[in-house]
Amino acid sequence: MKLKQKPTNQLILLLAFVVTFSLLGAYYIYQPEPSFFSSSSHPVVSSVSKNDDTVLMIQATANSGCTNTLQLSETSLLGLPQQQFKTHHSWSAEAETFTGPLLEDIIKIACGDATKINLKALNDYSVDVDFTIAKSFRPIVAHSINGSRLSVRDKGPLWIMVPSDDLKVVSKEVDGMLIWQLSDITILNTI
């Protein structure tokens, strides 16, 4: 009689083993996507007209806790501390060198510590970005690629870029934030 219980015990053990491993496997396989950026649901309408030499305009919404408006010309953009790195990205098979000031520096000039920003492109496409998280990717506002200035045709004049290779991030995680043909930044929230 005792013998009959033995295989059942072993089977239960085996089953527990399988279930545990399957759960571990499912946990391993399941990796939620990051979501620190989202397509903007409220288009930001600019109330200030751009100067002729403005390449990037930084504004703030009324309830963001910041009232500054900053119009950056090409010269003032180039006057900021510059960063340079070589990285792979989703729009090219080869690694390319990008040059430009840190996005964080530009936003600091306008509004100090922003927590949420909106990045808008020439074709009016825009995304909202949680800047507290995005900051950690050290994004730059690139104006040059491989030493030459970005034209509208090669996704210029400005392009948000992160050193994906150095940070070892998967391009998919940050692609949504890498706005090209950047023209406007709107501060949505500050601390």
């Binding site: 391993y28 729009w91 509208v152 090669d154």
Partner: protein, 387 residues
């Protein structure tokens, strides 16, 4: 030494195979998930880029019309033109990266988008760097843009969005192809489980066989006999129990050695098994003690069986040159004498057997009469011991 090492190695491999297979399933499963994510991501990107291309085409068309009607400036047309230009290589790049687009699809799209790019490039000297843009050339270009827009919408957007298109089938095929690997491992794992289960059941069968049989004589074991008696008594079906004891077995053991004793036991057991064992259940319960259970409760029938057995052991057993005549004392009892109680039946069979030994009886001594007679018989045994 070598053999046991080999055995241990195969055991270790067998134990490791399960976890290894599970790890393989997990790894290949995560590969399927990542393939699925890649496919959906590239599909999303393709859709996004083709929509953006379509949008810029429409936007450029509006700008061209506005310029022709003197509503907008050359500057904004140039910007729209440049944005449209920038969209084309981006879209081409996404299409090339799309896992769901086969080479054939890609070639078709490349021709489609390539001809659009040619038409866009051709306009560069007319649009860029001009203060006054040739409106007739713009008008012609507008028609071409319209054609390109229709071609992209008609051929490509429809194909991307439809669930029965070649594109959708290719997507499914890519994922299914990736899924074959974990499927293979899952099948392997189930085969492994099946093997383990069959090995386990086989082991159990062997163990049960060993438990049920006496290793030396091959007759049923003591445990098996006791369980059989218990089952019979619980089902309250009447039975007959015979108890055997070899006469002068100790003498054989002492004079010829244990080896000879074992041979004698084996001989006796084989004769018992081939005669009474064919009609009932025969087993060895102790040194030279044997039991046999019959479900037939007819005394005559059992006696007849016993006659066959006696005939079988009449032939002397030849042990190391010494011919030994086996003689046995047998007691028989009917279970209904004891209301089917196992302990009682066993005790009475034992008593009957000792009585038969005492009386040097050749036949079975039956305790099938009433209890009083048993008691008197028992008393006679006891008195014989006390003398």
């Amino acid at each position: 030494m070598n053999l046991s090492q080999q055995y241990q190695l195969s055991n270790v491999l067998l134990t490791l195979l399960g976890p290894v297979l599970i790890v393989c399933i997990i790894i290949s499963g995560s590969y399927v998930v990542s393939t699925y994510k890649d496919v959906t991501y590239s599909k999303q990107k393709t859709l996004w880029d083709v929509m953006q291309l379509d949008r810029e085409l429409a936007h450029t068309k509006v700008e061209v019309k506005d310029y022709i009607h003197d509503i907008s400036t050359a500057e904004s047309l140039v910007l729209a033109y440049n944005i449209l230009w920038s969209r084309i290589p981006t879209a081409r790049n996404s299409f090339r990266k799309d896992l769901s687009l086969s080479e054939r699809d890609n070639n078709e799209i490349d021709v489609l988008v390539g001809s659009l790019f040619e038409d866009v490039k051709r306009m560069e000297p007319i649009i860029v760097g001009q203060t006054e843009i040739n409106k007739i050339a713009l008008q012609e270009w507008l028609v071409k843009l319209e054609q390109h827009e229709n071609a992209i919408r008609g051929n490509f957007i429809h194909d991307l969005a439809s669930s029965s298109s070649r594109y959708a089938r290719q997507t499914t095929a890519t994922i299914l192809k990736a899924a074959t690997i974990p499927l293979f491992f899952i099948i392997c794992f189930f085969l492994y489980l099946g093997y383990l289960l069959s090995a386990l059941l086989n082991e159990r069968k062997i163990n049960q066989q060993m438990l049920d049989h006496d290793t030396m004589t091959g007759l049923h074991s003591r445990d098996f006999m006791m369980n059989t008696l218990k089952d019979l008594s619980e089902s309250s079906s009447p039975f007959v129990l015979l108890a055997f004891d070899l006469n002068k077995f100790k003498t054989v053991n002492d004079k010829l050695g244990h080896h000879a004793g074992d041979k004698l036991l084996k001989y006796f057991a084989s004769q018992l098994g081939s005669t009474l064992g064919q009609h009932g259940i025969a087993g060895r319960v102790g040194g030279d003690e044997f039991l046999c259970v019959f479900e037939s409760t007819d005394q005559k029938t059992v006696n007849r069986y016993y006659g066959e057995f006696l005939l079988a052991i009449k032939q002397p057993c030849d042990i190391e040159g010494v011919s030994i005549q086996v003689s046995v004392s047998t007691g028989g009892v009917f279970s209904n004498n004891c209301d089917n109680h196992v302990a009682c039946v066993l005790e009475q069979a034992d008593r009957a057997m000792y009585e038969a030994k005492y009386q040097k009886l050749k036949t079975i001594l039956w305790l099938n009469t009433d209890r009083r007679k048993v008691e008197t018989q028992t008393k006679s045994i006891e008195s014989s011991f006390s003398v």
